[in-house]
């Protein structure tokens, strides 16, 4: 079981970006994606989350199990913190939001409108959303942006708890979360400019 990625090739704007991406993400494990800006971390995560098709390769064990968190949190400024969470909980067929509120110490803010939160608080709320999805495979794109030290530690604790309960996480980040996790550096997987991988633009080369 777990997520298996074999020889995946992803494209962006008709050009292959990464080739030959292979890794396993068994339950209880975390994998950290590293690579310079523009290397294709976001593209890889979006492909794995099913937002865009891969050029080739296979992803197994991820169907309806992936919860994805992009750069933006999908929060509505005119809904309160608990309303925002309750909405996403309901969409994913869950009920309980108190655990998620507690995990990111959002209880004192629960009745504040999300629009009045600071950037860090918003981010915490966005990450708390992962807890109400009830899905085992987390995919997080730069989750620690605008978090302070305490919040980063809090986040690491939440991820550790998620792993301990049999979940897994794929995290694109530059900072050290203090998690026991394998690291996948994607910079060597970067597609060559003249690579032929079936990307849309190649018909014109």
């Amino acid at each position: 079981m777990g997520l298996e990625v074999r020889d995946l090739c992803v494209e962006r704007g008709g050009v292959p970006v990464l080739m030959g991406v292979s890794f396993d993400l068994p339950p209880g494990k975390a994998l950290i994606l590293r690579g310079p800006n523009g290397a294709g971390k976001t593209t890889l995560l979006r492909t794995l989350a099913g937002l865009q098709p891969a050029l080739s390769g296979a992803v197994t064990g991820g169907e309806d199990l992936i919860a994805y968190a992009s750069h933006s949190d999908g929060l509505k400024a005119m809904l309160t913190v608990s309303e925002n969470l309750a909405f996403w909980a309901d969409v994913f067929g869950q009920r309980d939001v108190t655990t998620a509120l507690h995990a990111f110490s959002l209880e004192p803010l629960r009745d504040r409108l999300a629009g009045t939160l600071s950037a860090g608080q918003k981010r915490r709320l966005g990450l708390a959303r992962m807890l109400v999805t009830g899905r085992p495979v987390w995919m997080l794109d730069e989750p620690t942006v605008s978090l302070d030290k305490d919040a980063v530690r809090q986040f690491a604790t939440v991820v550790a708890g998620h792993l301990a309960s049999g979940g897994s996480a794929l995290i694109a980040t530059h900072i050290d979360l203090g998690l026991e996790a394998e690291v996948l550096d994607i910079s060597p997987l970067r597609a060559q400019p003249d690579a032929r991988a079936g990307a849309s633009d190649e018909a014109f080369l």
Binding site: G14, P193, E202, A203, F204, L205
Partner: protein, 242 residues
């Protein structure tokens, strides 16, 4: 060697550079001879007097206005199903030709309507349908222009073309229901009785052939242009990554 081989952009360019001169030549030949024949050597009609000569522009352009859209619909479907770039780019290349054909049909219709019906414009079902078709063309072109990523643009415009076709047909029926018009019946039909007299019929056929060849030449050439622009873009994208 199947027809789909020409869906490869490079092969398409090679083929089109060979047949383009032929199409340009046929277009010029048919248009010039048909229009001269029609303009100088056909008699005035009883009811229409000399305005009957407008038929050589009005009927072919009106036919093309619709046929170009149908061609775009087919090309869009091919792109959505088989994802051949040439198909999507051909649809993009055809749209402005369709706009000009629709404009000519509308203009010549208005100029013809003035002496015949005593008005430049009437909300006759056919005129109205063409006006709506014109709006569909404009929307389609505007969507192509607005979206940067070419594949996204191709997908979205194809979906728009499909949906637009359904609504264009619906509009046609709606407009018919809304106002029964002044327009005479079809000028060309398989039913001989309804047809225009032979003396107008043959030059008209030549003019229609001319419009068809002109359309083919324009679309082939414009598709080639789109392919070159796409290739330039693709090469530049690789340059940036190199």
């Amino acid at each position: 060697m199947s027809l789909w081989e020409y869906a490869n952009p490079v092969r398409f360019l090679a083929l089109s550079s060979r047949v383009l001169p032929v199409f340009w030549g046929l277009a010029a030949l048919c248009l010039v001879s048909g229009l001269i024949w029609g303009f100088f050597f056909t008699p005035n009609a009883d009811k229409f007097e000399s305005t009957v000569k407008i038929i050589y522009l009005h009927v072919p352009s009106a036919m093309m206005a619709i046929n170009v859209w149908v061609m775009m619909l087919v090309a869009s479907l091919i792109w959505l199903v088989r994802r051949h770039h040439v198909s999507a780019l051909a649809a993009k290349a055809a749209a402005p030709v369709g706009v000009v054909m629709t404009l000519i049909a509308l203009f010549t219709g208005a100029i013809w309507g003035q002496p015949m019906w005593g008005t430049w414009w009437a909300w006759d079902p056919r005129l109205t349908s063409f006006l709506i078709l014109f709006l569909f063309y404009l929307g389609y072109i505007a969507l192509w222009e607005a979206i940067e990523d070419p594949d996204t643009a191709a997908d979205l415009t194809s979906v728009l073309c499909l949906v637009g076709s359904v609504f264009a047909v619906l509009s046609r029926y709606a407009v018919n229901f809304w106002n029964q018009g002044l327009h005479q019946g079809a000028s060309l039909s398989l039913d001989k009785e309804e047809n225009v007299a032979d003396v107008y019929y043959f030059p008209l056929l030549v003019c229609i052939a001319g419009f068809v060849f002109l359309f083919l030449a324009l679309v082939l050439y414009r598709t080639g242009t789109e392919i070159r622009l796409r290739r330039t873009r693709a090469l530049q994208a690789r340059e940036v990554r190199a």
